[in-house]
Symmetry: C2
Subunit: 347 residues, 2 copies
């Protein structure tokens, strides 16, 4: 019983209840038996915040009810009749919890409100898991220092590769070896557009196709101009290579000027044009370049692919879906299990 | 100082001093500063055994001298003037060490001498790292039980994928998710032969080319008839899927009957014939089949590739070199760091 109290208590503050937050909640529901039996955890969401308000319960919110309320009323604020008076920063600071999950949408301009959420969580000594690229791409070096200073664990697997464990792979699977450089396709939208252009559509047609299929936003600049890939590159460079860099350190070129003529010229050389993010000789770059069609990173559609070059084991490539609600939620869950394992090892 | 004694002591018994054993020794030499500074270990080889004899030193053998003696005299037995009187099993049982490295060549018929080495090591309470597929493919379920019974750690990353961390990926990077099935190319030799056939060589010509380039043995049956891929499949099924299986549970078909006509028929369907090892619905199979050329596992040359299908995160593929002395040695080193981390966590 005491075991239960010490080891299994995992109280979560969930901030952001969009696709990823809701997918995570569904995962916690559907996998609760596995989480307890295999990993020994019983996570409870003690506070859930969306852009219209919050729901709070120190004994844990009812997850089915939370999902239903969000669906029927549009906000978790309607979970209880009594309105929660605190704002999100006050909730983070004043609610007892082990982990803050920051899952609000990425904002690459000023990183808010995510950045303030992260800083509040760190200051109040709570571990953090985020899938929000904004704060990381603009301030990861400082955030890592702040996390270290406050003695908290800070994880963000879901920011790169969706559910594909690119960050963990580099950190956990390559011990004893050394990553010299890496390059790859980190943005599924532009890869979809470029793959469509291979079939004869021009850039505008391919973009419009991507928009119709829900792969591109109405304002597609974040993807097609390279910002999203650059943000992920920055995260990888900090976490994997120990570089202290932000978005301004990336040489960035988008794909909007790629023509069918460029595509066909590449094809004649048995190549395809791909938007490649690379970290080579400490230089960070996002740029459309010709890739040999036999290169393992030359994948089609919305796939992501990263190739690591190692000192001893040579080149290794990981390929997987780079986005998706349930996929990204699975990365958040993985981070949660890792943090909990580390908490136990420290006891 | 006491820290040094408790944490850093890592005495190794190295059995088998061929390409992998020598590559590992070179790695220990070249990376000794990193191993101490980054991972906090100072490995010492206290016994080294090859097929003609042994060298022993409780304070640690001089690694440069060991490599030179092997090169100039053909056996480590000449390391000292005094011949070591014990045989390999006696050395394993009577030498104080934390880890036994079993790196003798794979024997898929009766798994010896590797199997006896492993059993001796387990009985004498030593942790084990091996790159030898023989004992694992024939008796992994029993060996895992025996390891558990004796409370020792048993690792074999180098048996699958060379330096590509396929086993670790499945075990460490996919926590919280569930692997439903996997399939891939686990043998580089047959993949090289099939890739050569794509260029117009028939099977015999492609095999002869592979032999000339050192990718295939004079007696190529182990590779071309599927035994090597089947052995790796068995190891993955036990370790990743928790199945209790050995070689006899694999439906195995080789590539020696593949004709240029088969290759061309596949090509017309935008496919390539690959020797695919698969674990699907608990059925284990090694068989040449047609793979879509856009499938991420459709890699060329001596590369290996494995695709995992996950419950939540979809399909994920890892690609890398599947063999090589230094690559496999890097996997052995990775296992060593993991075992040492676990020893410390248990203190």
């Amino acid at each position: 019983m005491e075991d239960d109290i010490i080891y299994r208590k995992l109280r979560l503050i969930l901030i952001g209840f969009g696709v990823i937050g809701q997918s995570l909640t569904k995962l916690l529901l559907s996998k609760s038996a596995d989480l307890y039996n295999i990993y020994g955890i019983k996570p409870r969401i003690v506070a859930c915040i969306d852009n219209k308000g919050a729901a709070i319960s120190s004994s844990g919110l009812d997850l089915e009810r939370l999902l239903n309320i969000k669906k029927s009323k549009g906000t978790v604020a309607r979970y209880s009749d009594k309105k929660v008076a605190m704002n999100s920063l006050e909730i983070i600071e004043n609610t007892e919890a082990e982990i803050v999950l920051e899952l609000t949408p990425t904002n690459l301009e000023n990183a808010e409100p995510g950045l303030s959420h992260l800083i509040s969580a760190m200051r109040s000594g709570k571990h953090i898991i985020t899938a929000n690229k904004g704060p990381l791409s603009l301030a990861l070096p400082s955030l890592l220092e702040l996390a270290d200073y406050n003695g908290i664990m800070f994880r963000f697997s879901g920011t790169v590769g969706g559910g594909t464990p690119i960050l963990e792979y580099a950190k956990h699977c390559l011990k004893g070896d050394r990553i010299i450089s890496f390059r790859g396709i980190l943005n599924g939208t532009t890869n979809y557009i470029l793959s469509k252009m291979e079939t004869g559509l021009d850039f505008k047609q391919a973009l419009s196709d991507a928009q119709k299929n829900g792969y591109a936003e109405a304002k597609p600049s974040l993807d097609v101009d390279g910002y999203d890939a650059a943000a992920k590159l920055v995260i990888m460079a900090n976490w994997i290579m120990g570089m202290k860099v932000t978005m301004k350190n990336v040489n960035m070129f988008g794909i909007s000027k790629i023509t069918l003529d460029d595509i066909n010229k590449a094809k004649n050389k048995k190549c395809a044009i791909k938007l490649i993010a690379s970290c080579e000789n400490k230089v960070l770059e996002v740029k459309p370049i010709e890739i040999d069609i036999n290169d393992p990173i030359c994948v089609d559609g919305t796939l992501n692919a990263v190739k690591f070059t190692l000192e001893h084991a040579g080149e290794q490539t990981i390929i997987g879906k780079g986005a998706g609600g349930i996929e990204t939620a699975s990365a958040v869950l993985r981070d949660m299990i890792e943090i909990r394992d580390n908490i136990i090892n420290k006891i």
